[in-house]
């Protein structure tokens, strides 16, 4: 008796969903026509649908541009999203910013799948893993969505182009020069990185190693260790302390990651260590550690403007959707007041657009930047 009732309920449930589904999914043409009356006030959904209906619009107005960041709750990602949103909205489009629930590729796949359902016009994604988004992004491109990467690239097969914050070689060279300068040209140095699979981290570290080996100028520098702080303050702190204990003569630590550099800076500054720090970090997080003299642990560091990275990515999305470019080498497009940019070949076989050289933060300018990002 109970079981019968249960199975009857189950059947009702299943068939109800089937009907509900077929009523809409089976007849996509009707679906679009009915939408304005049946959509119950979901903003994003509405605009996404409008975009789907009005594909013949040549203007960017009414279209939807999505950005998928690496993780939630990170000011760097937030600034990128801010720049992205600003440019899209200034051009009359709708921006969707989605932060995945965790900093994993798995979580990003769910977000991308959802964006495909919403019928957005473009997706720009900061990949947590170069390869793991391929299935979802291929599906997006097959559905006519323009896919580009930003900040941290996907592999070449799953993107049309990539808004790169700075050339990999360029960053490697800049950091290498900083290490050379701070160490005085000789001695031991070490790297504190993020996670072992962070694509951009590994590319920069490889670039640094290559530059160090190819130029005899760096012959007296000895890279003693590469440690992974997993972008977690506790672990970054522990590995930095271990570096100082294991290598008492260590002269420079280079941390090309925002979490790692802040944790390392604190360790060095608290200990009053003679070892100095450079790398890539957020001015707002690092302001307390940047300064001249021995009481500060970081003489200077670098970063690009994350707002500009987001803006560049937005202009790329706009250009891709308008059909101005399609991500091939040599394409050029206008990026508003940022000037004109050209798509170039990337090292991984795909293409990229490079924002510009990294910006140097030192005691003279840190105070004006710390409130901005």
């Amino acid at each position: 008796m109970k079981k019968k009732l249960l199975s009857a309920l189950l059947c009702v449930a299943m068939s109800a969903t089937l009907f509900a589904g077929c009523g809409n999914g089976g007849t996509p043409a009707n679906n679009d026509a009915n939408e304005p009356s049946s959509s119950a006030g979901a903003d994003a959904g509405d605009s996404a649908d409008d975009a789907g209906a009005g594909t013949d619009d040549s203007a960017s107005g009414g279209k939807t541009y999505a950005m998928v960041t690496k993780s939630a709750g990170n000011p760097y990602n937030e600034k990128e999203a801010e720049g992205f949103k600003e440019v899209i909205e200034a051009n009359g489009g709708t921006a969707i910013i989605q932060h995945p629930e965790a900093a994993t590729a798995d979580a990003q796949v769910s977000v991308i799948q959802s964006l495909i359902s919403q019928g957005v016009d473009s997706i720009s994604v900061a990949a947590n893993d170069a390869n793991a988004l391929q299935a979802a992004l291929e599906e997006a491109m097959a559905a006519g969505i323009k896919v580009s990467a930003v900040d941290s690239a996907t592999n070449a097969a799953s993107r049309m182009t990539f808004a790169n914050q700075a050339g990999t070689k360029e960053i490697g060279q800049t950091l290498m020069d900083a290490v050379y300068d701070i160490s005085g040209g000789s001695g031991q140095w070490a790297i504190v990185s993020a996670t072992s699979q962070a694509t951009n981290q590994n590319a920069w570290i490889d670039a640094m190693k290559e530059i160090m080996e190819s130029d005899s100028k760096y012959a007296d520098l000895e890279l003693v260790s590469i440690e992974y702080g997993d972008d977690v303050p506790e672990k970054s702190t522990t590995v930095t302390q271990a570096l100082l204990t294991n290598y008492p003569d260590l002269k420079v630590i280079c941390a090309p990651t925002t979490v790692g550099i802040a944790a390392a800076a604190k360790v060095l500054q608290d200990q009053g260590s003679s070892c100095k720090l450079t790398g890539l970090g957020l001015p707002s997080e690092m302001a307390a550690y940047i300064g001249d003299g021995d009481s500060f642990s970081c003489p200077y560091m670098f970063l690009w403007n994350p707002i500009d990275v987001g803006r560049l990515s937005a202009y790329i999305s706009l250009a891709l959707v308008n059909g101005d470019i399609n991500g091939a080498t040599g394409d050029t497009f206008e990026a508003g007041d940022m000037g004109s940019y050209t798509v170039v070949d990337a090292a991984d076989g795909g293409t990229e657009v490079i924002l510009g050289p990294p910006f140097k933060f030192d005691p003279s300018n840190i105070n004006e930047w710390k409130d901005i990002y």
Partner: protein, 332 residues
Amino acid sequence: MAGKSGRTISATPENVWKKQIFSWEGILVVIFLAVIVLCKLLSPNYTFVNVLREMPKYLTEIFLLFPMAYILMLGEIDISVGSIVCLSATAGCLISNAGVPFGAAAVLTLLVGAACGAVNGLILVKFPELPSMIITLGTQIVFRGIAEIVLGSGGSVSPTNMDGYRMIAGKIGPFPYIFFLVIISAVIFAVVSAKMKYGRSLYAIGSNRRTAFYSGIRVNKVIFIAYTLMGLFAGIAGLFLTSATYAANTTTGKGFEMDAIAMAVFGGIATTGGKGRMVGGVISAFIIICLRIGLGQINMNSQLILVIIGILLICAVLLPNITGSLRLKKRD
């Protein structure tokens, strides 16, 4: 709660809670319908085709639900499954990249999973005084750690020949293959737990391990099989997750164990053992999945979605308890 068995001796007649459990599954069906209607109202894109298209990645987690439900019925827990998914997916990609044909690589993926599960089972059977949570916490770190070592400094691997993975990600009409596999597994697991001797020994051990032992149930064997099954299905999940992402990395499957446990608990399967039915677990899994897809489509803050799931989880257990105690008071 109270002692290892977690049960209190009370005057409540048997059929009262049986009725409650039954009505819980009824409520779940109602909730399921409500979720569908709600999402439909919220998002114009919440169509049958779209929901099914987004589903495969979520469905991989249901594979973990089935054996996890068994383990919970035993009164045990396994928090290493996310890492087993990671290790087996990694192994699968590396084996297939070594030139092994896809079929064999797939079987080896499952075997790696099953082997990990067997290790858990073996330790637990050999050292029954150890809580399963702690052992699987240790192996959780170890299994993912091994994946980190074999993946090396890149931390990620992608199969060079993706044909096989593309094939298992295929569809019949709008239905992905994995959907049928989930339904078939659900039926088998439900029938085994409700009708077969193995299923009844799960409940018996979960209710009282010692009594079960003295009534002739081979407790160790049942536990070992449950954990090995857990590993095997984590392997299956790893295989399908690879087909949904074309890669395995060190964060693959992170947090899956909690999702699987949440699904089971929401479905009325108690973590104290001996209670609950597979049907409830499966319905609740679809509730959570459909809700996540719907809220994702209106671009709700991903952290808020987790908050909602957390509240649902607590209410799912709290409400029956409160109404149950009210009912008892009335009778008195």
